[in-house]
């Protein structure tokens, strides 16, 4: 029985809003810390849940299988990390929000991720298009607000507007796609669709493919697959940094869970599989190339991470395109986990550094190796893991993906993957170069880091390295 977890999260969010409104004198950071503790408790609670399909009927719209459970935890962890980031980032938010008293609006800033979290958790278990749509919109709409949260900051507003319009557009494609699938199968549940797929007449195949295509477009938008990735760099750059991190990890992960479930459902029909796999491979190749190449000339750290997030979507899509292989699911999930750890670590270092420097440029990292060795080391690990260097989770992620792809003989994708990995080394090492090769500017302000951030960074570094060598604990958990 796992419904309560989502409700718990939801209640926590509502409770926080209430406390925020009725006890305005409470320090908002305390609120956030409390929320972190509660989320941690919920996280612990999920370990007492057994993966079991709640309604195993063909119309089941909610599945608590191992995958779903894993992503619930994933959502909780990323929300916790987002809150840690948000606390670190709070001073910046305060600056860009008009308010009668200090800390106005911070309460919402800390609360919104919790609602998103609830949406993400539902999404993880959603097995019906209705459910998928609702959960997805819960996530997306709360993200609209978060992206545009700093309403005295033009970049944040612009990012919010772009995300809003493009997001709504993709929602339009999604529902229209659902329409056509429903029209051809008479079902909205994924299981139901799978069972009737064989009975769909040949004439309806095209319409069905049309629907699937529209859904792919929409999910492609969610996971930042090329050519639907155009919002990503702009929105990532403009959004408040914790939101960027959350967006790039949680939203993408949720997108991939849905994508995997949807693709799984349609792969039952060989005819569809023959169409779908090349299309996914096409998306994957395009995304790999676009994300990695366009990242090469970047000089803004947040934008670089945005392109990197596109690039990683490419590798994940390679995994999705290999779903025929039993290893693919595990590879994708592991990659997402790795992506969570390293991306959050990167943002965790980015926030204090850019707070100190007042900007997000890579050159703001100059000399960090001397100015803040610990933070620089954390960033080094994050970058190496993102680049896919062995002894980090990032490498294992790529390894599993490539293994799955080679099993399915996607050689073109694998070659593209290798070439783009080399590009990746270039742009990730640009950050390393800034930190270690370049001298610090004379007047560089000190990088102040809170103990919580420091602890979290150390924790993430440890996880990246330990899981990079010994991934067994995670692999045992995976479906």
């Amino acid at each position: 029985m796992s419904f309560p977890v989502e409700f718990c999260v939801l209640s926590l969010g509502i409770l926080m809003l209430l406390v925020d409104s009725f006890f305005p004198s409470i320090d908002k950071r305390t609120l956030a810390h409390t929320a972190i503790v509660w989320l941690a408790v919920f996280l612990a609670a999920t370990f007492f849940l057994q993966p079991s399909p709640l309604w195993a009927s063909p119309n089941g719209f909610y599945e608590t299988d191992a995958l779903g459970l894993f992503f619930k935890r994933f959502a909780l962890v990323s929300t916790i990390l987002t809150l840690v980031l948000a606390i670190e980032y709070a001073p910046v938010v305060e600056r860009f929000i008009p308010g009668s008293r200090p800390g106005a609006g911070l309460g919402e800033f800390f609360t919104l991720p919790i609602f998103t979290c609830a949406g993400l958790m539902w999404m993880a278990s959603a097995a019906d298009f209705v459910m998928i749509f609702c959960a997805l919109e819960l996530v997306t709409i709360s993200f609209y607000i978060q992206v545009a949260f700093m309403r005295r900051n033009m970049a944040s507003l612009e990012a919010g507007t772009k995300y809003l319009i493009l997001g709504a557009l993709s929602t339009g494609f999604l529902v229209y796609g659902i329409t056509w699938i429903f029209g051809m199968t008479g079902q909205t549940g994924l299981r139901g669709i799978s069972t009737v797929l064989g009975m769909v007449p040949q004439a309806s195949q095209t319409a069905l493919l049309f629907g699937i295509g529209l859904i792919l477009v929409s999910l492609g938008f969610k996971v930042a697959a090329a050519p639907f990735q155009f919002w990503v760099p702009d929105v990532y750059q403009g959004a408040p940094t914790p939101v960027t991190a959350f967006l790039s990890v949680a939203s993408k992960a949720a997108g991939f869970v849905v994508l995997m479930r949807v693709v799984d459902a349609f792969l039952v029909a060989p005819a569809l599989q023959a169409k779908l796999v090349p299309a996914l491979g096409f998306l994957a190749g395009l995304t790999l190339v676009y994300g990695n190449l366009a990242a090469l000339p970047q000089t803004n750290m947040k934008r670089l991470l945005a392109y990197s997030s596109i690039a990683h979507a490419g590798y994940l899509l390679v995994g999705v395109a290999s779903v025929g292989s039993p290893a693919a699911g595990r590879a994708i999930v592991f990659y997402l986990l790795a992506y969570l750890l390293m991306t959050f670590l990167a943002f965790l270092v980015l926030i204090p550094v850019s707070k100190a420097a007042g900007g997000d440029d890579i050159s703001d990292f100059n000399g960090l190796g001397r100015r803040a060795p610990g933070m620089a080391f954390a960033m080094l690990i994050a970058m190496l893991s993102l680049a896919g260097l062995p002894f980090t989770v990032g490498f294992l992620g790529k390894f599993f993906i490539f293994e799955a792809a080679m099993r399915q003989q996607h050689f073109v994708l694998v070659v593209l993957g290798v070439v783009t990995v080399a590009c990746g080394f270039y742009y990730y090492l640009k950050v390393v170069r800034a930190m270690y090769w370049q001298p610090a500017p004379e007047d560089a302000p000190p990088v102040l880091v809170s103990p919580l951030t420091r602890f979290t960074a150390a924790f993430l570094v440890t996880l990246i390295l330990v899981l990079g060598v010994y991934p067994k604990p995670i692999l045992d958990f995976l479906p």
Partner: protein, 599 residues
Amino acid sequence: MSAIPWIILFTPLAAAAVILFLGRFSKPLSAGLAIGSAAAVCVLSWWLFTRPDPTETIRFYWIDFGEALRIPIGVTIDHLSKVMLVVVTTIATLVFTYSVGYMKTEEGYWRYFAGLSLFLFSMLGIVLADNFVMMFIFWELVGLSSYILIGHYFKKDSAADAAKQAFIVNRIGDFGFMLGILLLWAATGTLVFSELTGRVAEFASNPVYLTVACVLVFCGTVGKSAQMPLHVWLPNSMEGPTPVSSLLHAATMVAAGVYMLARIFPILHAVPVALDVIAWVGGITCFAAALMATQQDDIKRILAYSTISQLGYMVLGVASATSADVPMFHLFTHAFFKCLLFLCAGSVIVGMHHEQNIWKMGALKNKMPFTFLAMVVGSLALSGCPLFSGYYSKDLIIGFAVVKYPFLGWLSVVTAGLTAFYTFRLIFVVFLGKPKDDHAKHAEESPLVMLVPLACLAVPAWVAGYGFVEKMFFHVTEPEHVPHILHPILLVLFAAGVLSAFALYRSAAKDPVSIPFFANRLYIDNLYSWIVRNIQDGGAMVLSWADRWIVDLLVVQVPSKLAWACGFVLRFLQIGNIQAYVFFFGAGAIGLLYFLIMK
């Protein structure tokens, strides 16, 4: 008993190692160790010479792969190696001793003696080797010691260049040598000389293969014994100290090539075509080097060309004689008289304060009477004057050559006349006439430590060709069917050479004859340096350029720059306008749908 050869072999190496570590602290220690080891080895060699050939020797496998490949390290003690041992160690002892006087004022004393000892070790290794790889090992090591010793005056550009050239030219010879070894081994499966001889017979049905192999092995000789076309390094090696020239580049090391041919004499004589090649190389070298010698001005270079010429005789002898003892006999006598000549030249050079141009000398007869006498003995032996050692050994080779290769034989006859001419040109210009330089006016006789070795060498240079010596060391059979006119012609040519030299050079102040073609060494050196500069270095420059601008460009720069440029362009799709994004989004959707539905 069977350990004696090993002791002989490794004593000089031990000496070299000790000198390397301790030599710099004491000059007498360096010299003492080197001379002591050489003398000890010399005594042991003579002792060994008096013993019958041992029936068993120690031999171990340096590398052992069973049937696939076995590289042994072992010694051969037979007549050939015993003679060579005696020659090498005796001359080495004398030259080592002489060096004490010659090098007294030079720096790098310990370096010099360490080099000499290392050389002795390597040379003995060649002599004792019982298989090709072991010989090759020491072959390279003598190259190294030669490099060290030629480069003794490393601050002089010419010496540094000469050392480098000597090593590299030798390596070119070794390239062929190794290839030849590989061919022989691939066919017979063995590297040991004694086993090879037997197996070659089985292989005689493949004459081309064997010929190629033997000619390639002969390349080693061409390099080491300075045969055409790889002779250029030897005259340049005269940049080294004179005792070095004497020991390495006249008496012993350069003879190693001939020694090696003598070692594989039975194999060579199974392949007539290879012998023809060897004969032609030897004959041409012998003649051409003599031509070059006639127009040189440097006392040591004249001797160097004469060495090349004499080595040519020996090689010709290998090809034409019926027994290896014939060329070995000449090697034997040549070792003594050429060593003597060089040491005399060294004495002159010391007397002249390191002036080597013969046109700055003159009238040294009275100032350096002892040296003069010794030098005359050496010259007579070299130019084949009857009753002197060279006469016997050289005429033997010429005899064989005339019978087997008439053209080359008669060429070598002419060469004999040339030899007399250039040798006595040297004597007359240096010792007669007027002093042409201040140094020549004030020259003094050398110290005793240098003169004693001269005396010790003058005796064998004189008598080494006599029958009793010959019987002791060799078993030479006279050639048959030699034209009766040969010996008179040789005598006439000898006399003509000496007399013409006397006529031309008795009191000449500068060279009355000028033949640029000979003086410039047939322009071979120029050709080589042109090749090295333009073809090798030029080609290397082109390749280097290509590496940077073509290979690197294609493999690294273009892909990386292209990737960057693509990224730069792709970035501009991200123009920031929402509606453009919507357009791309829609286009992408249409593309995806097309891909999904139509394909």
